[in-house]
């Protein structure tokens, strides 16, 4: 089904054209480094000039930085701003001339123009107005690229010259270079925050647009999920219903099955490894278990769909139970296997963190090893274990490929593990893979589901990390 998706390259040429410019700036910048360094050496050799504040290389680096950085910033900002600006200038008056006011239709016109600019074959007749706009765009783009090159190169040369002229023995080049490095490091560290903000904003915006069309209450409490909408207004078809409850039930059913496998197996493995196993056994088995975590999920999906699901179906046929070929059990089972090492390695850490004195006290009272584990170690490690299980649950809820390949598409509201159910991630994938229309509730629903997923996993993570941290503090 996905194979029929047409490839629509929307390359508009502007993105790649800056590569030679950037290379040129980098070459200039290394040249500036060399010049700055040479100047510093020349100064150092002059007996009258006194001692250099920094080593000559720092003067070179400072010159290179002042040559390269401003120019690169100019290129980056220009690249981001140029395309929308050029598009608006090129399309100026086109929409009005065609009497189009609807923003969707304006977008269509803009896309037509983009396709013309990129040189793609346009199926329908080319509108002369759009053709003119495309020509205008190309003209403007040429001017813009020229202007950008001039601006960037000027900035590079001026920056390099300013520093070169200021190189004196007293110039605190090292301190300035280090200041710049520190700023760059700080910027890199804030990247993580920007990613989170980006996720929240991108998901939130589309979700808000979704909830403008579908009421929030219908989404959260609706019992029917069938996102097939009539795409055109005059098309006959279902109006689509977006009740997330069946999807959520499916998600929790499959995650529940997965946890029912992963928690006992993972926990018992962790207990055996940390309390009973000798060091050689531990050293061989632990990496082997980690392999289970390293296998890509698409491989598990293939395994679930091709080996486990048919096996379960055959087993059902033998015992006379009706088993769907995409049963929740198959997906859940394989997902559980995938999560075993996750639970076991986290619990292993937690159990190892329980102080030895607690064990010694219990043995001293005459308890056996298993009694010590059950009555002393597990209660002591309980918060940490709960934390690791919560993290595993969030993993199970967000897992995509296994369920996409082995679980169903139809949203059945059922708790029967032998039937096919669907999950949040499956729905996101099916709604967004293939041709999309970006304003239909069908596509936007995927973002609403994505937000639900994000909020649930985030909450689970925050709680889990809090619990684990609290627990660690208790024994440290």
């Amino acid at each position: 089904m996905q194979r029929n998706e047409a490839i629509r390259p929307s390359i508009d040429g502007t993105h790649m054209s800056s590569a030679p410019l950037i290379t040129l700036v980098l070459i200039l910048s290394s040249l500036a480094y060399w010049l700055g360094r040479r100047r510093a050496f020349a100064l150092a050799r002059r007996p009258s000039a006194g001692k250099l504040h920094s080593r000559p290389g720092y003067y070179g680096v400072l010159t290179g930085l002042w040559c390269g950085l401003p120019a690169l910033v100019i290129v980056a900002v220009w690249q981001m701003a140029a395309d929308p600006l050029l598009t608006r200038m090129a399309m100026d008056g086109v929409a009005a001339a065609k009497g189009v006011v609807n923003p969707d239709q304006i977008n269509l016109l803009v896309n037509d123009m983009r396709n013309l600019v990129a040189g793609n074959v346009v199926a329908h007749e080319v509108d002369p107005l759009i053709q003119a706009a495309a020509d205008r765009y190309l003209g403007l783009q040429r001017i813009s690229n020229l202007a950008l090159a001039t601006a960037a190169l000027t900035a590079a040369l001026v920056g390099a010259y300013l520093i070169l002229a200021r190189i004196r023995p007293a110039l605190r080049a090292r301190n300035q270079v280090e200041r710049v490095i520190e700023i760059i490091l700080t910027l890199c560290s804030t990247f993580a925050v920007f990613i989170t903000i980006g996720i929240v904003l991108s998901v939130l915006f589309e979700s808000i647009r979704f909830f403008q069309q579908i009421p929030l209450a219908d989404f959260l409490f609706g019992l029917k999920w069938s996102p097939q909408m009539a795409i055109r207004a005059d098309q006959a078809g279902s109006s689509g219903s977006f009740g997330a409850i069946p999807v959520l039930t499916g998600t929790f059913l499959i995650s529940g099955i997965a946890m029912a496998i992963a928690v006992p197996f993972g926990l018992m493995s962790a207990i055996y490894l940390s309390e009973y196993a000798g060091s050689t056994f531990r050293a061989t088995v632990k990496p082997l278990l980690e392999i289970l975590a390293g296998v890509p999920t698409v491989v598990y999906g293939f395994f679930a769909a091709l080996v486990v699901a048919p096996a379960i179906r055959d087993l059902g046929a033998l015992t006379g139970l009706p088993v769907a070929s995409e049963s929740a059990l198959a997906a859940g089972l394989v997902m559980g296997i995938m999560i075993i090492p996750f639970v076991s390695s986290l619990s292993d850490d937690v159990i190892n963190a329980v102080p030895q004195s607690l064990r010694d006290g219990s043995y001293g009272l005459g308890a056996t090893k298993s009694e010590t584990i059950k009555l002393v170690i597990l209660p002591a490690a309980l918060p940490g274990i709960v934390g690791s299980i919560l993290l595993a649950v969030s993993r199970a809820i967000g897992e995509t490929m296994i369920v996409v390949m082995a679980a169903g598409l139809a949203a059945n509201l059922t708790f029967n593990p032998l039937q096919a159910v669907t999950t949040v991630t499956v729905q996101i994938v099916t709604l967004l893979v293939g041709d999309q229309e970006f304003d239909s509730p069908k596509t936007l629903a995927a973002f609403a589901l994505g937000m639900l997923l994000f909020v649930v996993t985030l909450a689970l993570n925050v709680i889990a990390l809090y619990v684990v941290r609290k627990y660690r503090e208790e024994y440290e």
């Binding site: 560290s189 998901v203 055996y272 082997l288 698409v298 293939f302 090893k369 009694e371 970006f438 994505g450």
Partner: protein
Amino acid sequence: MSEARPMSTMARVNVGLAARYRKERRFKFFGLAAIVASLMFLALLLASITAKGYTAFRQTEILLDIHLDPAVLDVNNLATANYAALVRDSVQALFPRVENRQDKRIVAKLASTGAAYQVQDMVMNKPELIGSVKSVWVLADDEVDMFIKGHIPRNVPESERRISDQQAAWIDQLTAAGRLQLAFNTTFFKAGDSREPELAGIRGAAMGSFFTLIVTLVLSFPIGVAAAVYLEEFAPKNRWTDLIEVNINNLAAIPSIVFGLLGLAVFLNFMNLPRSASLVGGLVLTLMTLPTIIIASRASLKSVPPSIREAALGVGASQVQTIVHHVLPLAMPGMMTGAIIGMARALGETAPLLMIGMVAFIVDVPHGFSDPATVLPVQIYLWADSPERAFVERTSAAIMVLLLLLLAMNAAAVFLRNKFERRW
């Protein structure tokens, strides 16, 4: 002394002792059983994939005597000649007794549609062959291939298999004449995707994975290391750095598909970057691997003892000099190990790439970062969806290649760690 003496403590302990020891043994057995079961799952997974996939590395070929007819092949127009007709005629020539038109058509389908391209390549490389009769091994159709490999069993009713009794008889005839062979499947490593299983290969997906990982590595390693250095060496302890830390830990646990949504909304719809390109795939995977690399790099920086820093600062190095000259070189092996593990995870990642259109059916091998591309795991997903029996085998083979790559990367990480890790 008629009344019973109260039981001594030891006696009371001894009464329950056997039961308690039994419980102890049972508990220990459960632990071992859990580990053994988990490892059995792993073995089952690997064994079933190997069993399904190893046959894909060999491919059935048919020996055809192709008459390179000058009437069909015009020297000046070799690119457009009807090579398919040449192949068809030579397959049909192997079965002179088949007269019926419909049967003839079925006979012609024993050879792959790709055979025509094979002949075309041969003729275009050596135009002097025209006019001769040349014996060539050409690819067989995927169903012939499946039948030869035993994936289409003979002992089921004719209506339930894809090869009819008649076709089976023809194939047996070819085998008897020595005109069928299983040869190493070079197509699988040289070709891009195709709808014909015998013409499909992993080259396109492997190159896509390569370009994607290059983008990921080039972006995530420097940024990740820089962020780790700042957080470990410079950051003051305040609410802002706390926020960054919490953020990084949370990002590491966010489902990968959410990163795909971000990529779709920001890179494709907002920034208008090309759809299906490995550049965008690399950007999305960068966002995903960044937390892994930051966390590994921080751990690596933490393990460098403070005495190193103090010694450097003591002889007058600045903080930046201390880090660049002493701390980073010592922490580098650990950081590289983290980067390799992050890359291995990125290599196996599928879900976010589905969101940004890397699931398109792409025949051409990508040559650059903005070419439409797909990656190995997505190729596996696409093939797993295909109904042809022969794709099951190829999917498993692609999985084997992917797992080998991952194994190699992880082995490299372990090697680095063992070789350069220092305990202070």
